[in-house]
Symmetry: C2
Subunit: 240 residues, 2 copies
């Protein structure tokens, strides 16, 4: 399973996701789900993947080859909408190809993507791409999108997220959303990856991988759990 989320806010974009894949509980491995594509000063693009690992790895490989050859590269496109269309079409083709094979044996080859970033001349944009190749875009009303095991991490987003939320707070919110999912679902697990993109910077280097026993992360988790308990102790509730 996978959990990835991304926000498109006034100050920029925030991405977060886990790296656990599993095929049954006895086949668990670590694969990153966050990929970046950049052209200095003009293109800063992030792709996060959920679903069939073969499909998403193949997708990323195709995107990289296109960039290397320069032919059909997403780094030559002038709008994030066109990137979403290109990536969506590629995703659909790969899924159709795998599903149509003689020995597909009913395997689910589908996947969902989060695609965010900025191309010079546009504001940052964020999309969720479906296995069918179509996609939706985040808005000021709904500034966050999720793929994968999304329910456990949603309550904190629904309470906190709004378009004006400062990036630093959005990053903390992302950590808590990821941690809540990790705690409640074994199939989502560390290392975690987060990336913060400041609007108009065209810089995707503010990225960090958090390992399972990262002291700062464990400290954050403890601080949060204690804080929630304290908050609960002082919470005025209806009389029962």
């Amino acid at each position: 399973m996978t959990y990835c989320l991304a926000m498109n806010l006034q100050q920029g974009l925030v991405f977060g996701g886990d790296t656990r894949t599993n095929a049954g509980v006895d086949h668990i491995a670590t694969f990153r789900k966050l990929y970046t594509f950049t052209k200095p000063g003009s293109h800063a693009i992030v792709v996060m993947c959920s679903g069939n690992l073969a499909t998403s790895q193949s997708l990323i490989e195709h995107l990289k080859r296109q960039n290397d050859s320069g032919e059909g590269s997403i780094l030559s496109l002038c709008s994030m909408f066109d990137v979403a269309k290109h990536v969506g079409d590629l995703l659909r083709e790969l899924i159709e190809e795998a599903s149509g094979a003689d020995h597909s044996q009913g395997v689910d080859f589908s996947g969902n993507l989060l695609l965010g970033g900025q191309i010079k001349g546009e504001a940052p944009r964020l999309f969720q791409i479906y296995p069918q190749g179509n996609f939706i875009e985040s808005t000021e009303d709904t500034p966050y999108l999720q793929i994968g095991e999304d329910k456990y991490g949603k309550p904190i987003l629904d309470r906190i997220t709004n378009y004006a939320l400062p990036l630093e707070l959005a990053l903390r919110c992302t950590f808590v959303s990821l941690d809540s999912t990790v705690k409640s679902n074994l199939s989502v697990g560390p290392p975690l990856e987060v990336l913060v993109y400041e609007k108009d910077s065209f810089d995707l280097s503010r990225c960090r991988r958090i390992e399972e026993y990262d002291e700062d992360f464990l400290n954050m988790r403890q601080h949060w759990s204690q804080g929630v308990r304290t908050l609960l102790e002082g919470l005025p509730t209806p009389n029962v």
Copy 2:
């Protein structure tokens, strides 16, 4: 949809649930999902239902009739385990009967139950009953059980709940778990119902229905959301 949860703790039991039922988004209604059966001084039993409404209403009707006639009444049983067996068998029979009819047309008649309470001579016990009639019991390690739309309300439980949690804190935790689910999923909605049972009291009167615009509830929600935001602002997180 439905969300119900219950905890079996050192000091007693806490139950919480919504009252929304829906068959599609244009057929939403209010039906309570929490029922009580008592015999003063010896039996205090709570049933919460999710799933097919016709099935759960029929189940409750059968249990009431058995109590009224005295024949096969759960209030004559000496252990909550036997009550769980009786209710589980009845649930399975009702589902089988509905599913086997000529015109069942592939409808899902199944349902899940939470059954908790205390019978004199035993400590309070809590069960989750499956459509197949079998059931699991909560333990000191896993003191809470949920049915229905359970994911949104799980993170707060996973952070807070333990067997020694005082009843008053457990009640607050229940309110937050319900509120998180209501906020994130339209098909779970108020009025909400909560019930607190103090061990050895055999008294199920500490019960409250919370209407949609209940001032105390809205006040709690605001306090919680603000508190979470403040907590987030002071949260030490890994550097990115």
